[in-house]
Amino acid sequence: MSAPGSNLVQKAPTVGHRAARVPPLVQPLNPCELEIDLFCKGMRIDPSCTLECDARFISRTRAGLGSGLELVIPGSIKDVWVNVPVEEDFAQQSCYELLRDQGEYWVRDVRLNHRYAVRIPSEPSWYTRLTSRGTPMHKVGVLQGTYLGIYIANSCGFWYHSPAVNCKFCASGLNVGVNEMARKDVDDVVEVASAAKEESGATFVHFNSGYQTDRDLDEAEPYVRAVKSRVGTLVGLQLIPTLDFWKYDRLIDLGADHFSFCYEFHNPEYFARFLPGKEKLVGQKTFFRALEYTTKKLGKGSCSGEIIAGVEPLGDTLRAIDYITDIGAFPTVCIFRPTIGADMEQWPSPRYEDMLVVFRYLYEACRRNNIPIDVTPNIEVSLIVQPGDTRYLAPHTVSSSVYHAEMALARWLARPYFAWKMRPKKARSTGHGKRDMGRTEDHA
């Protein structure tokens, strides 16, 4: 059904109970529904587009989700950022095409000739600059939505086992050396983070790493220290978890604001089958314990459990959302993308109807558990459907209205706190230093 915020160029049908009974295909989609459908179906690019002048440099980094074209779907509740698959085979057969008409960009659904107005975020000027060491800045980090994503380590150890035990959906082992630097220099990272903050208004730097033989958190420490002390942004970490919880304490002391844990599949059989490295060398329970520990330390809504929807049975995905929200974390749900070169490249992309069920459920779970959504300033993630995006899927009920009002108040009240958090500052000195994690040189 269409909800408030639809940016359709044609007249949008009346929203209400009657509209809800109309089959979804003849209805224009609201921004979140369109986002979900674009993730599922991808998009073709019409020759009328002049993306070389208008769009960001496309670069697949990390697990491969960022290989698409970034676009923004304007809406009345919020603008929705989406990294639309354009490279994969399924995208070549999509009903959606991006076209340019009179200087504006539109996504056209060729089934019904609906046209949706969209915006193409321009490339940051710093993408083409070099760091002081001569490294192209886009090879250090890229914007994924409005935040800076940096893959800090030398690929993922799962790819280098014999036999390889890489996650079957992942392409990270295929990228390094091809599209990005093998290892990121701390000073390069500081320069790129500074440029992203000053010139692109980025408020959040997200460090991600593959398996580093249980030294994952240790490897991240110099980067967290440097960005917090020399740049001053919110910092998130997405690393293979450990049961050495003191390492999380240490990173929190250094200023880490967020941890996310990609356990991907809630069903243990799917976890074992598709994530052989995580199954063999880490274990699903380690993800759960680390998520529970960090959420307790940093507070409700600070950490996330990251899962993939569209591979395991729908019921398992809904159970994952329940588990994550019940412990006070927020769910980061990726719609499965059969990325080029990955072992699961031949798998089908998920059905839109199934994903709609998932994200409506996600909204309800966040509301039921009063998980803060869209409270942090200017963090729009293009690779996933953010919990905040699902406000477009909310039923028109009193409880939804109350939840939205609470979140708006929290957003307002949290401004001074985040302003303080985003000032460069030295790490707190605590007792965790005696169990130092290796290099602790302070660049401040």
């Binding site: 690019i45 993306l51 070389e52 769009a55 440099f57 496309i58 670069s59 697949r60 290989s67 074209l69 354009v86 490279e87 085979d89 070549q92 030398n154 690929s155 790819w159 280098y160 390889a164 890489n166 079957k168 392409a171 082992g173 295929l174 990228n175 390094v176 050396g177 091809v178 599209n179 093998a182 080029i340 070169g341 072992d343 699961m344 490249e345 031949q346 798998w347």
Partner: protein, 173 residues
């Protein structure tokens, strides 16, 4: 669930494979490999001959191209020898499979399998892995397997036996 494709890593017998391993130095260099579709384009024959003359593995690839029943094209303005598969895929989509054979330094040859981005202005390359060779001889059957992998559009069951999927080297353009 699943089609099980990713689980398979078998070596498919290749009907196009050359009979047995031959030292590269004994393979005569082809003058005009017939299965290179764009051989008539200016600059392609000298490009093939120049690369084959400088690198014995490239020479073996050129021989295999000549013997292959499948069509290929050669990229002109690039480092090393870049071969592009021309056989359409069964799903009706164009075959985007490419192979670059280059030498990063004397005595080393790298064979890199990839697809180029479909976005006109993007220079992204999508890796399907590669081979790091430290010898000037190459098994002719191996080369035939590389070409079969290309022709299949990088189908998982056609992966060359020694393919390293994680191939963390800088690849020249």
């Amino acid at each position: 669930m699943g089609n099980g494709i990713w689980e398979e890593r078998r070596t498919t017998p290749n009907p196009n494979a050359l009979p047995k391993a031959v030292p590269v130095s004994r393979i005569p260099s082809p003058k005009f490999p017939p299965m290179i579709d764009n051989l008539h384009e200016p600059g392609i024959p000298p490009k093939v001959q120049e690369e084959a003359g400088a690198n014995a593995v490239v020479d073996a690839v050129a021989v295999a191209l000549a013997a292959s029943p499948d069509p290929f094209a050669i990229e002109l303005n690039c480092a090393g020898l870049e071969v592009v598969a021309q056989t359409p895929l069964s799903n009706g989509l164009p075959n985007r499979a490419r192979m670059k054979v280059f030498s990063p330094k004397p005595g080393y040859t790298r064979v890199f399998f990839f697809k180029k981005s479909l976005v006109p202005y993007s220079r992204d390359r999508y890796s399907y892995g590669g081979l790091d060779l430290r010898t000037s001889t190459v098994n002719a059957q191996e080369v035939a397997a590389w070409l079969a992998f290309l022709t299949s559009g990088f189908h998982p069951v056609k992966r060359p036996e020694k393919l390293r999927r994680a191939f963390p080297y800088e690849i020249p353009e």
